[in-house]
């Protein structure tokens, strides 16, 4: 009987090893280990054995059952893994095909720059002030120390609607309006972004409409060295750490002393980037601030100019033609 059991065991082991499908494996399990299976069949003959032999054969039979069980479980796992492998191989996709398209829009580059500049100055405690684009002669010129027939008006040829109303030529008008609204309160720290208009023929470097950002700080004891500091910190944030800046004396009717600010461009050399100065005492006075007690500085820049310099754009008209091939390139600043 022992011989029969051992022969059965090795026969079954071989069969399990050779099986290739889970179905066959299940059949084998029934064939050898099932209730009516061959192992049970052999054991059925145990009655003819002597009482001494019975436990020995019984335990041998259990060993064989366990052994075969293990083989089957192992084989089962192997076959399942292979089946999964085969299944997954069939599911293979081409990962290089493009993804489902999501449209990516864009913000206008001038607005991207304005937002960036706003954020820089908000971080320094500035508020963003706005004002009308159709302005009175008073706010656009007179309150800024440019009375009628002042030669400096030639620097900014304007679009008049009536003798008293015009399209603002700079956002400096907002500074005056804001000062008036603040009624002598300090500190004043504002920037004023917005559209401005001048009588220029549109060409690669001129536009009858363009965008300015002006800034104004008024407080007790504001000095030119602070103007210098604020501008340098701004310029480094826009054009990168270590950007060199220089101030040149200049002239604006509403600031004194006045400066032009240049930055150093590695290829183009010194480039004028903005105008600034200490607020003219007459401007403070007209807005209700005593120039003996308060001082301030102001600065103004053309947003197009900064964008053109930053991205090496050669024609200002691109900003207003709105060709999508142009606009799409500006995702962030």
């Amino acid at each position: 009987m022992r011989e029969r059991l051992e022969a059965l065991s090795s026969e079954a082991a071989l069969a399990i090893q050779q099986v290739t499908t889970l179905e066959e494996l299940r059949e084998l399990k029934v064939k050898y280990l099932g209730k009516k299976g061959e192992l049970t069949g052999v054991l059925r003959g145990m009655g003819s054995l002597s009482p001494e032999e019975r436990p020995v054969i019984g335990s041998l039979a259990n060993e064989i059952r366990n052994h075969l069980d293990q083989l089957i479980t192992g084989k089962e796992a192997a076959l399942q893994a292979a089946a999964l492998e085969e299944q997954l191989a069939k599911e293979t996709i081409d990962v290089t095909l493009p993804g489902v398209k999501r449209n990516v829009g864009s913000l206008h580059p001038l607005h991207l720059i304005i937002e960036k500049i706003e954020d820089i100055f908000v971080g320094m405690g500035f508020e963003v002030a706005e004002g009308p684009e159709v302005e009175t002669d008073k706010y656009n010129f007179e309150a800024l120390n440019m009375p009628q027939e002042h030669p400096a008006r030639d620097m900014q040829d304007s679009f008049y609607i009536t003798p008293e109303l015009l399209l603002r030529t700079h956002t400096s008008s907002v500074q005056v309006r804001t000062l008036e609204k603040k009624e002598g309160y300090v500190p004043v720290r504002i920037i004023c972004p917005g559209k401005v208009y001048r009588r220029d023929d549109d060409d690669a470097t001129h536009s009858h409409q363009f965008t300015q950002i002006e800034g104004l700080v008024v407080d007790r004891g504001v000095s030119m060295s602070e103007l210098n500091g604020v501008l340098l910190s701004f310029i480094e944030k826009i054009f990168g750490e270590g950007t060199e800046m220089r101030l040149r004396p200049s002239y604006f009717p509403f600031t004194e002393p006045s400066v032009e600010v240049d930055i150093y461009h590695p290829e183009k050399g010194w480039i004028e980037i903005l105008g600034a100065g200490m607020v003219h005492p007459r401007v403070l006075e007209k807005a209700g601030y005593n120039p003996e007690r308060y001082s301030g500085f102001a600065f103004g820049m053309g947003v197009e100019r900064i964008a053109m310099l930053k991205y090496d754009i050669d024609d200002i008209r691109h900003f207003y033609n709105n060709d999508l091939r142009f606009l799409r390139q500006f995702k962030t600043v």
């Binding site: 864009s106 159709v134 027939e149 679009f159 009536t162 210098n228 091939r325 606009l327």
Partner: protein, 806 residues
């Protein structure tokens, strides 16, 4: 202002200072230098020759054979074609090997069998621009003065080695409209010696009558004239012509040149009247009468008005004061006596007059900024002195001077402490005093207070802060330290509206739209294509537009967005989805008196071929209405704007059957729709969908309050509802009915199908919704749900004739 380096070097010590140094330092201290250029356009090997003889060419009628002495004993045979060549002339001769502008090389040549060893040059061949040439110099060879040194270098002789520094003057620096003023500036910057010309009054040898009457002393507070007789009109000396040409001024004759020369030298414009043509030496300065006419030097008849000042002889106008002289008293070749005028005219009058007559002259440019009163008499003296020296003149009268009051010394005080505080620099009192010394501003200092006597040549320096700027610019802006503002730091930040406008723009960007920026000024025609959200708004017209394209302020953004869409489609951008958030300018006034309302509007256009979202999809047609509607709905949700109704509407410019107004609480906040096919066709666009929204109304509809609802604990029951209704029943109304009838158990309604077809029946459509019911405090039973659902069905049936679809 064009500054000749050679001329400047006469007035200030420039030893060791190059034109480039001057440019750099002027830029650093406040005067922008546009460019430096040399007068030499590339001439070499040209010398002064003397024409000894001129013989006809044996084989050519138009050519002449000249023998020319070019110095050092060298006599050349040169064939010349110029009509004006004559024996005895001094002329520029390009020797063999010479170079002329335009790549011309002079070689030995044979012209019709006669050898020619060089070329006699015209002014143009030497590279002189026509605008600085006298008429007779524009044709033929250039004939030089009799005294021109034979054999001398032509470049030296004609001032072509000079370098010109072009200044870009700001309006405050009128002092630098004269060489003497520039010399003061250079002397201050480089701390150099000044060498100004010696000016003396010329004693008269006659006593010719001169009577000056000033009608309005406010218009002309200072007026000086002097008569010069015995003049011989001719060319001015070459050195003077050279300097005028460097300054960009054409030499005319010695008298006119001298007046121009003194103007360029001292910044004081002068005028020379032909004394014999003004009738007796009577001068009356008065306002013009309305419509009074004068023929100016340029031969044009000018019509004047009482806002212009005239110089007259008591009857006839002789000149428009400060702008241009009249033809009737012009200096001519026959002139022997002149009346030289040097004056101060009211800057505003000159400015207005020049602008009205469209004559901006060298003189008016100086008068309108206010000339230096201290230089009026010296400039007159200088001119008379030069007329006597260079044009054979003798003074015919004393200088006649009319002056209102005296010129007071202008004293401006400067506090050292104020200077230090405003600039934020450490600067000592001796340093400040030294700067005033260099500027040649006399100063007294006492206990930290400077009393500065500002010279009249610097009218721009009026108050303390002007002196601070003077000190700062000479001290050097590069020496101002960098500090950060101290004191109270305000919080800063954006306002609610500013933040929300950003949110709108960023949200649309995230949905795939591109932001554009169009002009505020547009044409009447474009503007009229689409109705503004404010139909009563009247467009605001510019008084003097530069073109009809940019003549009025927009009252709607859409027309230009449509143009932008067309611009892109025409350039091969297949899909255009753009938006703009910008101001419209609204008024109801016909003649603008109040500032208009500037209101932010949001507008967009979507058109063109839709890009498939994945490669295996087909290109979808352009039915974009619902796509854009979905974007706007998402935007409203993002902003917290609820309850926007879309109601069919027919505004101008839109498709009458495919357009909705967006309404919140019975207020129209915007329009969404397909552009009218006629308009779309005009721009070659296919089914463009557009929207315009009043941003202020939109923002005011934002519900900022967030009411938290607990996450539901009981399950929901979903029931589908498919009904058949007449085709023209709006789905929105069905949905509204469902909500109204179902009550609070209904949590959501979503449309999942709409279709028409034979099986539904002619004129009918099937509409299918999915309804979700839920209670917050219990699990709903089937019976409860059925009761509500059945009542919804019944309601739709009675209100819309809806039949439940089986």
């Amino acid at each position: 202002m064009l500054v000749s380096y050679e001329w400047l070097s006469q007035y200030v010590d420039l030893e060791g200072i190059t034109p480039e140094d001057i440019a750099e330092e002027l830029n650093r201290t406040g005067i922008e230098v546009e460019v430096i250029y040399t007068r030499d356009p590339g001439v070499s090997g040209v010398v002064i020759g003397e024409v000894l003889s001129v013989e006809p060419h044996p084989h050519a009628d138009r050519l002449k054979v000249c023998m020319v002495n070019v110095g050092k004993g060298q006599i050349l045979q040169i064939v010349c074609g110029a009509k004006n060549v004559a024996a005895g002339q001094r002329v520029p001769v390009a020797l063999v090997g010479a170079k002329l502008p335009g790549g011309v090389h002079i070689k030995k040549a044979e012209l019709r069998g006669i050898e020619s060893n060089g070329m006699i040059c015209s002014a143009k061949e030497l590279g002189f621009p026509e605008k600085v040439l006298m008429k007779e110099q524009t044709e033929g060879i250039l004939v030089l003065e009799k005294e021109a040194p034979v054999g001398g270098d032509i470049k030296e002789y004609l001032g072509m080695n000079d370098q010109v520094i072009e200044l870009q003057l700001t309006p405050n620096r009128s002092d630098c409209l004269g060489m003497v003023g520039v010399a003061y500036e250079i002397a201050a910057i480089f701390d150099r010696e000044l060498r100004l010309p010696m000016i003396t009054e010329t004693a008269p040898q006659y006593d010719s009558p001169v009577n000056v009457y000033i009608e309005s002393e406010e218009d002309c507070p200072f007026y000086a004239v002097q008569v010069v007789h015995n003049l011989q009109v001719g060319p001015s000396p070459q050195w003077m012509q050279n300097r005028l040409i460097s300054a960009g001024i054409r030499p005319i004759n010695n008298i006119v040149d001298i007046t121009n020369y003194v103007m360029l030298e001292m910044g004081q414009p002068l005028h020379a009247f032909d004394y014999d043509r003004i009738g007796g030496g009577q001068i009356v300065v008065r306002r013009a009468q309305e419509g009074e006419q004068i023929t100016t030097l340029d031969g044009t008849v000018r019509t004047c008005d009482p806002e212009m000042l005239l110089i007259t002889n008591g009857e006839e106008p002789l000149a428009v004061a400060g702008v241009m002289g009249g033809e009737s008293s012009e200096v001519t070749g026959q002139t022997v006596s002149v009346l030289i005028e040097s004056a101060f005219f009211d800057p505003m009058l000159v400015r207005q007059g020049a602008r009205k007559l469209a004559m901006r002259t060298e003189a008016s440019a100086r008068f309108e900024k206010g000339v230096d009163p201290e230089q009026i008499v010296p400039a007159l003296n200088r001119a008379v002195q030069l007329l006597c020296q260079l044009a054979g003149g003798v003074a015919g009268s004393e200088p006649v001077v009319h002056k209102v009051g005296d010129i007071d010394d202008i004293i401006v005080e400067l506090r050292h402490e104020r200077l230090v505080n405003l600039l934020g620099v450490q600067i000592s009192q001796p340093e400040v005093l030294d700067i005033f010394r260099r500027l040649r501003f006399p100063v007294r200092m006492d206990d930290g207070l400077y009393e500065v006597q500002v010279p009249t040549r610097r009218p721009d320096v009026m108050i303390e802060v002007d002196l601070i700027e003077e000190v700062a610019r000479i001290f050097g802006y590069d020496r101002i330290p960098t500090t950060l503002p101290w004191g109270q730091q305000p919080p800063g930040g954006l306002t609610r509206e500013q933040k929300l406008r950003r949110t709108i723009r960023h949200t649309l960007r995230n949905m795939g739209l591109h932001e554009v920026l169009t002009y505020s000024l547009t044409s009447e025609q474009t503007e009229a294509e689409v109705e503004s959200l404010e139909p009563q708004a009247r467009p605001i017209h510019l008084a003097m537009p530069m073109s009809s394209e940019h003549a009025i302020l927009r009252t709607t953004l859409l027309p230009q967005l449509i143009e932008t869409a067309a611009y892109n489609i025409n350039r091969g951008n297949d899909r255009v989805s753009i938006f703009e958030l910008g101001r419209t300018y609204l008024t109801s006034e016909e003649q603008l008196e109040q500032l208009p309302l500037e209101r932010y509007e949001l507008a967009g256009v979507v058109t063109g071929k839709k890009e498939p979202s994945i490669w295996k999809e087909k290109e979808l047609p352009a039915g974009d209405f619902y796509e854009v509607k979905g974007m706007l709905e998402a935007l409203f949700t993002r902003l917290g704007v609820y309850g926007v109704e879309f109601r069919a509407a027919r505004p101008k410019g839109f498709h009458p059957g495919r357009t909705a107004e967006m309404v919140i609480e019975e207020q129209v906040i915007g329009i969404l729709g397909e552009i009218h096919p006629q308009l779309a066709r005009k721009y070659d666009l296919e089914h463009p969908v557009a929207f315009q929204i009043d941003v202020e109304k939109l923002l005011s509809a934002i519900d900022e309050e967030i009411i938290y609802e607990p996450i539901p604990r009981y399950p929901a029951v979903t029931r589908d509802l498919a009904v058949i209704v007449d085709e023209n029943v709006p789905v929105g109304e069905l949905e509204e009915g469902i909500w109204e009838e179902a009550g609070e158990l209904l949590k959501s309604v979503s449309l999942f199908d709409v279709f028409t077809g034979e099986q539904i029946g002619e004129g009918k459509k099937s509409v299918a919704f999915s309804l979700v019911y839920r209670a917050s405090n219990r699990t709903l039973t089937d019976e409860e749900v059925n009761r509500v659902h059945d009542s919804v069905v019944a309601f739709l049936s009675s209100a819309f004739g809806a039949k439940l679809r089986q």
